[in-house]
Symmetry: C2
Subunit: 141 residues, 2 copies
Amino acid sequence: MTFKLDEFLPYRLSVAAAQISRRFASIYAAEAGLTIPEWRVLAHLAQSAEVSVRDIQARVNLDKSMVSRAATQLEEEGYVSKSGHGTDRRLIVLQLTPKGIALMQRLAPLAEQFQQQILTELGPDAEALARALDRLAQKNA
Amino acid sequence: MTFKLDEFLPYRLSVAAAQISRRFASIYAAEAGLTIPEWRVLAHLAQSAEVSVRDIQARVNLDKSMVSRAATQLEEEGYVSKSGHGTDRRLIVLQLTPKGIALMQRLAPLAEQFQQQILTELGPDAEALARALDRLAQKNA
DNA sequence: CTCATACCGTTGCATATGCAACGAATGTGC
DNA sequence: GCACATTCGTTGCATATGCAACGGTATGAG
């Protein structure tokens, strides 16, 4: 039996990602009581202004039901507003409220700081990791 | 608002890992009807001979309840045997049955082939990615 | 020896997740 | 203009997941 799980790339990638997600999740959970899907939707809106549920779903690798529920939750908490699209009434336009913008301004530095810490841990291989993730994202598009 | 989710490392790592896991999961699901925890337990036993639930839990970043359920399922399917530990009767010794070994001999080449495909997609950055994952694993130990 | 404490694996339970179906709306072929 | 297929977001539901508590066992202090 020659197979070594410890040397299997998909496995190691999965473990590393889960651990890092968990570490960071504890940060924004403590700071704002957000779940992972909520954080992603919020952060995506911060970079994309006005988007539909479908736009987020496509980019974030999150089921649309999850995006929908996260958006509803964020709306109830006052961070996000939902409005109808002008010409296509199937679409919903999501955007941050002032309160949502304020929250992101509080969270962005924490995210930046966390990322910086990871980059430091990675050292010289950080750049190659970034390129590798780009390649994987493209191949799975 | 300057935060860019697309450039946020934890997020990109998580998306990439989820996509790859999903791709590979479809392979062993089709081949043997295994779930992700089952695959991990099986693969871990393939490299570690006799281990307890706790050993697996510690290495695989999987809740012990999940390991326990996966082990029970694998036992029912005849891939794994459970036996009592000689001196410490709290422990359970898990090991592959001949049927389990045969299954791993069938799956290992598929895993190898899949990994090879990923490495090809990654190109020259594959090595750096491996080193980066090593560093992350150490930091989170 | 005895009691308190810690550990192991299992199980119950509340929550999270993903798939499928649905109503509403739009687009398409004829 | 009209059926028919497709898309959007929501919701129902079955399953997966993670935490906490439990019974059983071992360990350590006194």
